[in-house]
Symmetry: C2
Amino acid sequence: MPVGTQGSVKGVWPEQLDAAGAEVLLANTYHLALRPGAERVEKLGGLHAFMGWPRALLTDSGGFQVFSLARLREIREEGIAFRSHLDGSSLFLSPEKSVEIQNRLGADIIMAFDECPALPCEEGPLSESVRRTARWLLRSKAAHRREDQLLFGIVQGGTHEGLRRESLERTLEADLPGLAIGGLAVGESREQRLAVLAFLAALLPRERPHYLMGVGTPLDLVESVALGIDMFDCVMPTRVGRHGVAFTSSGRLRLRNQAFESDGAPLDSACGGPCCSRFSRGYLRHLLMAGEPLGAMALSLHNIYYYTSLMARIRAAIRAATFPQLLGEVREIYQRKDPESDGE
Amino acid sequence: MPVGTQGSVKGVWPEQLDAAGAEVLLANTYHLALRPGAERVEKLGGLHAFMGWPRALLTDSGGFQVFSLARLREIREEGIAFRSHLDGSSLFLSPEKSVEIQNRLGADIIMAFDECPALPCEEGPLSESVRRTARWLLRSKAAHRREDQLLFGIVQGGTHEGLRRESLERTLEADLPGLAIGGLAVGESREQRLAVLAFLAALLPRERPHYLMGVGTPLDLVESVALGIDMFDCVMPTRVGRHGVAFTSSGRLRLRNQAFESDGAPLDSACGGPCCSRFSRGYLRHLLMAGEPLGAMALSLHNIYYYTSLMARIRAAIRAATFPQLLGEVREIYQRKDPESDGE
C-alpha cells in the first residue's frame, strides 16, 4: 500500500497509482484529524471522494503518529493526551475517538487503537502496554459503527516472544477480519524483526490477511512474505524517490551520482512504467540537480511501480511454486554492494 | 506554449501536456546552457529526447534571461559578458554562440539573439539597442546551421512607434519564417503594450506567424489575438498554479481562501481536465494548506488546460466569425472584481 499521509501519495496522481496497479492506499488518521479534520472529510463525501480514489483505502488508528510526531504525550487508561505537532493545540485520542474518526473518514479497512512502544523496551512496561492494547482492542471493536468497514486488530509485544504470543491470542479472541503486526520497524535490528515474524508465522491463522505495518525495503517485503505476511505499507518508495533514489532490477540507484549525467539508458529497462518508457537517467539526474518537481515525481512513481511489480511477481512465484528462487534473487540484488548501489 | 524553463514544465508530466492539447513547449537556452549544458543535451539525443517530448519545441535566445537573471552584465557589439546566477562563473553570449547552443539543443523553432532593454527607456539607448538587435539578427541568421529548425526574428523598440517600425522593417528584410514581438511585459503599462500591438498590427505580414513573447494573462491573450498575435509563451499558468491560483470560466480563484474549505464543487465545471474531473475545491485547498505537492501539480495542470482550451476557443471563434463575442466574454470575466477573484 502506497502511503498518502495527508490524503495524497506525495507527488503522484490517483490515476497514476491506479495504472501502477496499487489496489489499496493508506492514509493517516492522525494527520487527517488535525488537518483538514474528519468532519470536513466526511462533509466532502468521505475519504474516497475527497482523495479521488475509488479503490480500497486503509486508515491507521493514529496511535503510531501520536508516539512518533506529537508532543507532550500523557498515556492513560482512557487514552492519550498530546499536543499537535502543527500548532501545539491540546488533543486527546482514545479507542472510541480513533474509531469514530475512522468511521467518519470512511476507509474500507480501519485499525484498532493500540499502544506502540519504541524498542528496546523493558519487559515490565512492554507487558503493561500489551495488556492495555488488548483492552483498547475490545473498546475499539465496541465503538465501531460501520459494517462496510473492516476492523483489523494489531499484535504488539516488541521482540518478546511470550508477549507476542499473548498479544496474538488476545487479538484472535476479538475475532476480527484481519490481523496486523505492529511494533516493528521502531528501533529493533533486522534480525530481531525476522525472529519475531518467524516466531509468529506458525501461529497466524491462515484464513485472515496478515498485515505488517510500516515495513519496508524490497528485501524486507520478500523476506516477510516468506514468513507469512500478505500486506505492507511504507512511505519508502515515495520518500527515497523524493531524495533521488530509485529501486531497480539491479539494485538501488542514487541518481544524483555524477556517473549518470550522460547516461541515456532508462532507470530500469525491465520496467514498463511511464518514467522508464520516456526518461533517461541523465534527464532524471538533471531534474533532481535543477530542483525540478518532475524529478521527485518521476522517481516516486517509478518506485511505486517497482513495489507493485515486486508484489505481483511474489504472487505469481507463490502460485508457480518458484518463490524460493525469487527470494534468492532479491537477496542477491539488495545484499550486494556495488558502485551504483548504497546497499540496504 | 507552456514554459519548461529547465527542460520541464514545472510539476507536469509530458503525457499530461500532450493530453491537454499543448502543441509546442518553450525551453530556455540560458538555463539549459548553464545546466546541464548544451553538449550534454545533445549527447542525450537533443531536447526532444531529453525531455521525452516528441511534439514541437521552441527555444529562446537566452538574451532575455541574461538581462533579467544574470549578474555583472557588459553589453558589447560582439555580445554580452555576464556571470551565471547559479555559481557566478563568467560567461559570454553572442548571436553566434546563442544560435550554436540552440542548434545543439535542437528545438523546432529557435530565436535570434536580441537585446531587450527594460522599460521605460530613453530614445537614444533604445534606438541604439534596436540597431544592434538588427545587426545581431543578421549574425544569428548567418550562424544558423540546421535546416530542420526555423529561425524567428524579434522586433524590439519598446513603446516607440518609429523604432518599432524600423525594427519590424529590419526583421522583415531578413526574410525569416516567423516573427516575434519582444520587449514587452518588461515594465510598460497594459495600455502601452496594447498601443504597440495596435500600431504593429497593420504592418505585420499575414503569411508569417506572429509570436508575442512572455505574455500573459487570459485577457492579454484574447486582446492580443484581436491585434493579430498567433503565438504566446508564459510561465503564468504554472507559476500562479504553484501559488494556489486557478483560472476558471468564472475568473481567478485563490484556492487558499477559507471560503473553499468545504466546497465540494470542481474548480471549474466547464473544464474536462483531470483535476476538475476528480478533485473538489475543498480537497485542492487542503493539499495547498498541507503543502502536498499534488496541490501545485493539479492547479498547474488545470491552468494549462484553461489556456489550451482558451486558445482552442479563440481559433473556433475566429473560424465561426464570433471572435468579438468571445473577446467581450473574457473581458467581462477578468475585468470584474468579485470576492473570489483578485482581478487582473
